[in-house]
């Protein structure tokens, strides 16, 4: 098997993101994820610099790489031009390609994202669509959003949208031929393969955990990964 470090290095984002870290910790001081989770982007870069295969494998199978919010605040501040947030995108990609993501609670959440945002991209041509942002699943959206969704066509018309209709404009229906082009792009570039990998590994993990996983978002496993939050992620160390 190829060395994990070599697989990471094959990605241009890895070359761009990892220069020479001096462990000043500036990235950690500025990091919103470090404010919330037991997380240090500095630690990620430190491990990668060691090229230690065991430690890299532990990263790919653990929760730590999933704490980052990819805001890229670290990129601005690093005095040596490292980009911990960019390295995270490469680590998460490899974790999914190798099927390691199901080994951690935070990694397992990828199925929920694939089955929502991932599938909406191909179904609607948008990363989200109002009918999918259901008020009962999003209480934080508040009563105004609930009112909007209850009167979605009238409200969107009032706001100047071309909601779910043909032609250009806000929230128009993306033509079928364009959605087909999008799907072909996913097929040719590895997007479809990643979706399939997420599904296959998640089904295996669900079986291991003795949980039901059907094609529905209402499956026991999806509900579990969408809502489970171990206090260890944020507990004081």
């Amino acid at each position: 098997m190829d060395r994990l470090y070599d697989m990471l290095s094959a990605d241009v984002r890895f070359k761009e993101g990892l220069k020479a870290c001096l462990h000043c910790g500036t990235c950690t001081a500025i990091c919103p994820a470090a404010e919330f989770y037991n997380y240090q982007p500095r630690k990620i870069v430190e491990i990668l610099q060691t090229k230690n295969e065991e430690e890299i494998e532990a990263l790919l199978k653990g929760d730590m790489i999933w704490y980052c919010g990819e805001c890229m605040s670290c990129v601005t501040r690093c005095p040596r031009g490292n980009a911990p947030g960019l390295l995270i995108t490469v680590l998460r990609g490899l974790s999914q390609d190798l099927g390691y993501f199901t080994e951690s609670e935070k990694g397992r959440q990828q199925l929920a994202i694939k089955r929502t945002v991932g599938e909406w991209i191909l179904e609607y041509g948008y990363c989200m669509f109002p009918s999918e942002v259901r008020p009962e699943a999003h209480p934080e959206q508040g009563p105004v959003w609930k009112w909007e969704v209850e009167h979605i066509e009238e409200v969107m018309e009032r706001l100047g949208a071309n909601y779910a209709k043909t032609g250009p404009g806000i929230l128009r229906k993306v033509p079928d031929e364009d959605l087909q082009e999008l799907k072909k792009i996913f097929d040719v570039t590895g997007g479809t393969r990643r979706f399939e990998k997420i599904e296959a590994c998640s089904r295996q993990k669900a079986e291991e955990m003795g949980m039901e996983l059907t094609d529905s978002l209402d499956s026991e496993y999806v509900h579990h990964i969408y809502t489970t939050n171990d206090p260890k992620h944020t507990a004081a160390e």
């Binding site: 980052c68 805001c71 890229m72 605040s73 989200m128 508040g142 959003w145 706001l159 969408y226």
Partner: protein, 356 residues
Amino acid sequence: MINEGKKRIWKDYQKEIADDRYFYVRSCIRQNFFPASEKAFLRIMQEELKKDVFENAAHTTCSGIGYHSDVVPFDTTMTVIARQFSLMTESGNENLVTSCITSFGLYNEVLETWKHFPDVLKKVRGYLKTATGREFEIPKNVAHASDVIFRFRKEISAIGVNRLVHHETGRPLKVVEHIGCHYSKMFPSKGVGGAEYPYVLVGMVEEWGGEVIDYPERRHCCGFGFRQYLVRANRGYSLANSKKKFESMKPYKPDFILTNCPGCPMFLDRWQYTLSEMEGVTYGENGRGIPVLTYEELAGLILGYDPWDLGLQVHQVPVEPLLDKMGIQYDTSRKFLGKDGQDLGRPDAPSVLKFF
């Protein structure tokens, strides 16, 4: 830092912004949550400034939220973006303007990647050709829509009818400006004013008569964090980071928050409601929240557009206190009506945050 120093720094980060003939690509989040802002942008550009802005129904999401939540690979996102470039090329345009900050950051990331790794560009050209038969030219100019409004801030001011001053006292209104992280944190030279002292919103506020607040957490992320909001188990991350900002700005008593990213105003608006329900806290005056505006909404208010045409009725934190300060007239009875005046009822009142 003294103002002179700040001005000297941001002068190093002045970017070229095309002055006409834009190919406009829309934002997923903006269309869902503040759609009237995109409507206002086109109205301002086409009707007020007489600029050519082209749109093509065939364009799609750039897949950015999928990419930054890591379910969409980089090769896929690069090729989806290449397809947008192909639509631009096909329409005879070369100036791209994006409504979304995530997209803007990604377009810059992709273009920089292609510049440094020409083999990747060659690979993506091949992917796009195989998948769709399409070819494309690289845009001559990439701007965010807030860059464009910034560029024409003086023209908007000249034809505007409202100012960012208290209409009774003449006091400049105090504004928190919040820049989306992906506007310039990755590529400071791509944003007006860079990443430390971005000037894109400050320029609008100063030109239109307001005063910008410098507060400790000014550059902190709103807390979106992609997967940190998308998965319910992680949402505490998003809420906690917004709360950090509210606590930091509250002592400065901002009259409103101005944003340039589609996601940030949604979070800064909705999380104020959520915090009021969870903890009973409010951050504005008299049990109200701090109104949160998009730059298109603000430009529209300066130009005298009807607040309900601008979509201010779909903010969870009511914007009326700001309208009152600016002396803008509005008809409360029409706030929640449909396009032809049909009665759509009205939202329930939150239990803490003053809404009606």
